[in-house]
């Protein structure tokens, strides 16, 4: 990993990652932009704040985030203690016991939201769904700032938000905060 910039985290990205971390009770997480052969760290939340030093850094495109970026499928996994390759995921701090990585972008994967260590011990399918919604917002934000290509349609976002609101209003509030910061 190489440090590359002192640029502060963009508030929108930061709000999205924070919302994802809080909605899932994670210890930390980050938003990664897909680049040529590597990820660029766009925002980090959690991990005692140390990870903010990593904004703008290039990180290797491997592990769960690398798989998600190439397969287009979310990955929610509990990590066995002997899987050393997963050390450093989700902000590059510590060894993760569970990882959730979700792709961003409507027409192609332009980023990945990756979270680690939920308080519950494992990520649920509800977590996958709420972070997928946030990842859609992240994809739109990345598009707005020229990092991506095409935003998700308002109709698809509204549909997802309505579904989340029907099932769990608390989670919907986290998504709404992120959307508000985008507007």
């Amino acid at each position: 990993m190489t440090q590359s910039t002192t640029e502060p985290p963009r508030p929108t990205y930061q709000a999205i990652v924070q919302a994802a971390v809080e909605a899932t009770g994670s210890a930390g997480g980050w938003l990664l932009a897909v680049g040529e052969g590597a990820f660029t760290v766009l925002a980090v939340h959690g991990h005692d704040g140390r990870a903010n030093d990593r904004i703008g850094a290039q990180v290797a495109a491997d592990g769960a985030a690398g798989f998600v970026a190439t397969s287009g499928q979310p990955a929610a996994m509990q990590i066995s203690a002997d899987d050393a390759d997963n050390i450093g995921a989700g902000g590059g701090v510590g060894t993760a016991s569970a990882i959730l990585a979700v792709p961003c972008g409507s027409e192609e994967v332009i980023g990945v939201v990756e979270l680690v260590d939920p308080a519950a011990g494992a990520y649920s399918f509800d977590d996958v769904e709420v972070v997928s919604m946030l990842a859609d917002v992240a994809g739109a934000a990345m598009t707005e700032t020229g990092t991506g290509s095409t935003p998700p349609s308002p109709a698809s976002l509204a549909l997802g938000l309505e579904r989340l609101a029907a099932g769990d209003a608390g989670r919907y509030a986290a998504v709404a905060r992120a959307v508000e910061s985008l507007l």
């Binding site: 397969s71 499928q73 996994m77 192609e108 990842a135 998700p152």
Partner: protein, 301 residues
């Protein structure tokens, strides 16, 4: 004529007597016993297009044809690179899918088509090439626990999936977890699968809201992983191989069925379709599964 040996044939308009199909069954005959009874996947070839498979994982019992494996990747200039022969799993995802399919159809032969490896670029090219190869090879079942969101590739994937449909390869895909496009899971020629909430690997449902057609176990699934480790995974990626395994059972017992008939057989025995059966049978195959499959599934649980 298109590539891959697929030759469109004329459609005939004749009296049904002329086209009579001796031995054809009716839906009334499609019982659990008829569909799955005693099936173990024997004689069925399954391709898993994914991150590779650790073929030497002892839990796979040698079901993976390591020498028949193939890998598609992209070089620095964007050119497609093909490499035949054994390979490992770069991530663990392909081995997880193989373990699920093997637990349901233990006698099916699995071949790894590796299209996901290190790096981020050119994956749609490799993905398409891998699926195209699997269809050309005539695999009975092709599992795709991945997809692409790139519309530029939609037509190419549509073509290869249609070719698979007409040349008798059943392509089972994971649907996207959210309401966004993912190819080829949106095509009618494939079997598109998402999660249900069951922890029963043999319980599945027909989805009344297509394009996703079936729902199967995909939450907190204990799986094999790379490096002979294990993991617990959640996602549609793990629902698809459950249906692929069940399809392998059907194809081993009924090799004469075409893809749409396999879909129909799956639909006929789905949990939410078999409403009149006793709870212990509805949507479950355990009463008629082979003893080997049951033993493995219980051990895995």
């Amino acid at each position: 004529m298109t590539d891959g040996g697929f030759r469109p044939r004329p459609a005939w308009s004749r009296d049904s007597v002329m086209l009579r199909m001796p031995g054809a069954i009716s839906l009334d005959d499609v019982s659990d016993e008829w569909v799955f009874g005693g099936a173990d996947g024997s004689g069925v070839r399954v391709a898993i297009v994914d991150s590779g498979i650790d073929a030497d994982n002892p839990e796979l019992d040698g079901c993976v044809d390591a020498d028949g494996a193939i890998e598609f990747s992209v070089d620095r200039e964007g050119g497609l690179v093909t490499r035949e022969g054994p390979h490992d799993d770069s991530f663990g995802h392909g081995t997880a899918c193989a373990g699920i399919i093997h637990s349901i159809a233990p006698k099916a032969e699995i071949t790894s088509v590796k299209v996901l490896g290190p790096g981020l670029s050119g994956k749609s090219i490799a993905f398409h090439a891998g699926l195209d190869w699997a269809v050309d090879q005539g695999f009975d079942v092709v599992n795709l626990s991945l997809g692409t969101r790139k519309r530029d590739w939609a037509l190419a994937f549509h073509d290869v999936c249609d070719r698979g449909y007409f040349t008798n390869s059943l392509i089972v895909t994971a649907a996207n977890n959210v309401q966004s496009v993912s190819y080829p899971s949106l095509f009618a020629s494939v079997v598109s699968v998402a999660c249900n909430t069951t922890d029963d690997p043999l319980r599945y449902h027909a989805n009344p809201e297509p394009p996703t057609e079936f729902l199967a176990r995909g939450i907190d699934v204990p799986t094999l992983w790379k490096g002979h480790t294990t993991s617990v995974q959640t996602g549609n990626s793990y629902a698809a191989p459950h249906i692929a395994g069940l399809a392998a059972l059907i194809r081993s017992k009924h090799p004469e069925l075409r893809p749409f008939q396999v879909k129909t057989a799956l639909w006929a025995r789905a949990g939410n379709v078999v409403e009149s059966a006793p709870p212990e049978i509805a949507g479950r195959l355990s009463r008629v599964m082979s003893a080997t499959s049951l033993t493995r599934l219980r051990a895995r649980a």
